[in-house]
Each structure stands twice: as structure tokens, then as C-alpha cells.
Amino acid sequence: MSPDALFQIANPLALSGWVALAASPLRPQALTLYAGRIVPLALAVLYTALVLVGWSGAEGGFGSLPDVMRLFDDPTVALAGWVHYLGFDLFVGAWAVETARREGIRHLLVLPCLILIFLFGPAGFLAFLALRAAYLGKVAA
């Protein structure tokens, strides 16, 4: 299967996880299990296989920015990098939802953070931690 075809599978799979997270108050346990474990694990298996297949054939490395950019010239490695984003971002999103549920933060407030994590992973992570800090401050006051 070509990297392009796998890309077309990985994207909707990750997206289904984000939909599950957004709708998670409906069936909290099942939907966070799906988005926080099942999909990230499937993406991790795909990532691992892609690295096993593509890593040794790729040029470049971790040593300098041009090296890292050259690494992503290889379609298999570039796809692996993309799947890495998809899997880890979703895992962080599920962690945010679970943390919010445990600490009593309203899901409606978490939703914008989820959108940010989905689009710009670390920025959304930052937003959620800020929301959490604000919420904990309010509880303490």
C-alpha cells in the first residue's frame, strides 16, 4: 500500500477519534476509550511499521534543521511524522477531556481547546493548561 493510500486511511481514523472526544459526554467511558486508547494505539502500530519500513532508506537525521528537513523528503518517513502528530495530538486531547471530567471542568469550555489541539497540538495543550489553572484558581478562591 502506498504512503498516499495510507494517508487517506490515517486521517479519517484520527478524525473519528476527535468526533468521539467532542461527543464524549454522551458515552464518557466508551468514547474516551476509543479516542484515548484504541485510535492512538492503531496509529502507533502504523507509525512503528512505517519507521521499520522507511527509516533506514531515508537521508538526513536529527543533527541539524536541514538534516531534519531532508528526512521528510522521504514519503514513508513524512507519513510516519504525520501519523506521529495524529496519534499524539489525539492522545493529548483525550487526556484533556479525562482531566476536565475528573476535575469538574465543563466540557463546553474544553471544546475550544480540543479544536486547538486538533489543529495546532501544543498551542491547544497550552490553552487547556491555562483553562485548568484558571478553573483551579476559581475553585480555590
Partner: protein, 268 residues
């Protein structure tokens, strides 16, 4: 107690936690390798490059889970013996090192066994030969321990079959595997048509030393299977005789297929 009974799976964990855990870990690690097999166009010696790591994963899972099953017949308290625990941990390390080497070589697009292309690969190959012998020695150690255990609760013929099967695995495998390793590859002769047996991948046109290796290593399945079939069905001296006969037949089969391959003839 007349037969081996498959009791609760938790017995695997209490009798042989390291072997059981490692078997489970290797089983899960099959997932990415099986997917890599589907995705990777690379070949090595005429086969998909991830086929060999996959075969070793499956073979090692079968070996470890077999040892974990037989571990219930070890002397009472052996599972808590620190020396035995250290030994099983060392065996687990050797298994993981073999998989890292075979999988790593596949990832790098090169060979593992018989790879003497650089001093480093050559040195690793030698070390891995030692590790392979060491991990196989676990079967022999268990054979001795089960032999000494007067309270296995097993019928004599069945106990004898475990001891012989486990005990034969190491010497038979060492003879075949080290002869194979002393050469330049697992084939004796030069294949032209690349005709192979399905699944196992053994050559159907030249000698393939892997056949005898397979039979040697599966002594720990075959002889106990015969013991399980005859124990309680035949009167005792006859049952034990049948087990001894089966063990001798398995040794003969190992050496017959070994000689056949060394003469350059395919198994079928």
C-alpha cells in the same frame, strides 16, 4: 492425575511470569512487524524482508509459552528461587537481543544470520549464536529440574516424555544449528527455480538445513505429545517404552533430514 489439564491461564503467570510476559510482549510486537511486511517492498534472499523477523517472533512465542506451560511441573518453590529467576531474566534478555538483531537487520535492509560483511556484523553474529544456544538451554535446565521432581503428579510415562522432549531439544538443536552456522547459508546447493514449501519457505530443489533445525527444536512438543497420548492408555512399562521409542524416532528423523539436507537434497 492422568493427563495434562489446561487449568486457568493464571497458572502461566504464577509458574513462569518472565516467559509468559515475554511471550505476550512478543505477540503484541507481531502487530507492527506484520504491517511492515504488508508495506515494505524490500526483499532479502528472494523473500519479503519482514518474513524472517515474523517467523522468529512466532517461533519464540511458541517456545516461551511451551516452557511456561511445562513450568508447572518444576519442583515446588522453584519459581521463587532467585537463581532460577535470574536465569529466566537472562534468557528473556537473550530472546530480546535476538529479536532486536533480526528485526534491526531487516529494518536496515540487510541480513542477520550469515552476515559477516563487516567486523561489527560478524561479531554480532557470533554473539547471537551464543545467545541462541543460551536461550535454548532453558529447555534443558527444565528437563533436569522436572526429572528431579518426585512430586510432579504425572504418570511415569508422561513425566518421562517431558524430560526426554525438553532434554533432547538443546543437544539436537545445537548439532544442527552450529553445523548450519559454520557454513555460508541455510541452503546446500544453488536454487534455480526458487521452488519452496508454502508457509515454512523450505527449498524444494536443494538441501535446506532449516528442516532439521525445525524438527530438532520441536522435540519438546513431539515427545511430550506421544507421552500424553500413551500415558494411561497403555500399561506402564509399555507406555514408557513407547515414549523412549518416540524419542529415538525423533532423533533419527532429525539426523535423517539433517543428512538429506547436507547431501543437497530437498525434504520433498
Amino acid at each position: 492425575m492422568t493427563t495434562l489439564s489446561l487449568t486457568a491461564p493464571s497458572r502461566f503467570w504464577t509458574d513462569a511470569p518472565v516467559f509468559t510476559g515475554l511471550a505476550l510482549f512478543l505477540t503484541l510486537s507481531i502487530l507492527p512487524v506484520a504491517l511492515a511486511l504488508q508495506l515494505d517492498p524490500r526483499q532479502w534472499l528472494g523473500e519479503a524482508i519482514w518474513l524472517k523477523p515474523l517467523k522468529f517472533q512466532i517461533a519464540l512465542v511458541i517456545y516461551l509459552i511451551t516452557l511456561a506451560f511445562f513450568a508447572r511441573f518444576l519442583p515446588a518453590g522453584m519459581a521463587d528461587n532467585p537463581r532460577w529467576q535470574l536465569f529466566t531474566q537472562a534468557v528473556a534478555f537473550a530472546v530480546l537481543a535476538e529479536m532486536a538483531w533480526i528485526g534491526g537487520a531487516a529494518a536496515l535492509g540487510t541480513g542477520s544470520h550469515f552476515n559477516v560483511s563487516t567486523p561489527l556484523w560478524n561479531a554480532i553474529y557470533g554473539l547471537m549464536g551464543f545467545f541462541a544456544a543460551f536461550l535454548t538451554s532453558a529447555s534443558f535446565v527444565m528437563a533436569v529440574a522436572i526429572h528431579r521432581n518426585a512430586a510432579t503428579g504425572l504418570e511415569p510415562a508422561l513425566k518421562l516424555s517431558l524430560v526426554l522432549g525438553l532434554g533432547l531439544t538443546l543437544p539436537l538443536t545445537l548439532v544442527v544449528a552450529f553445523t548450519m552456522a559454520a557454513g555460508t547459508g541455510h541452503l546446500v546447493g544453488t536454487p534455480v527455480t526458487e521452488a519452496r514449501l508454502p508457509l515454512m519457505g523450505w527449498s524444494r530443489e536443494v538441501g535446506d538445513l532449516r528442516v532439521a533445525h525445525f524438527i530438532a527444536t520441536h522435540a519438546l512438543h513431539f515427545v511430550p505429545l506421544v507421552g500424553w497420548l500413551v500415558a494411561g492408555r497403555l500399561p506402564d512399562p509399555a507406555a514408557r517404552g513407547a515414549v523412549i521409542l518416540a524419542a529415538l524416532a525423533w532423533v533419527a528423523l532429525t539426523f535423517a533430514t539433517f543428512a538429506q539436507a547436507l547431501m543437497g537434497k530437498p525434504v520433498i
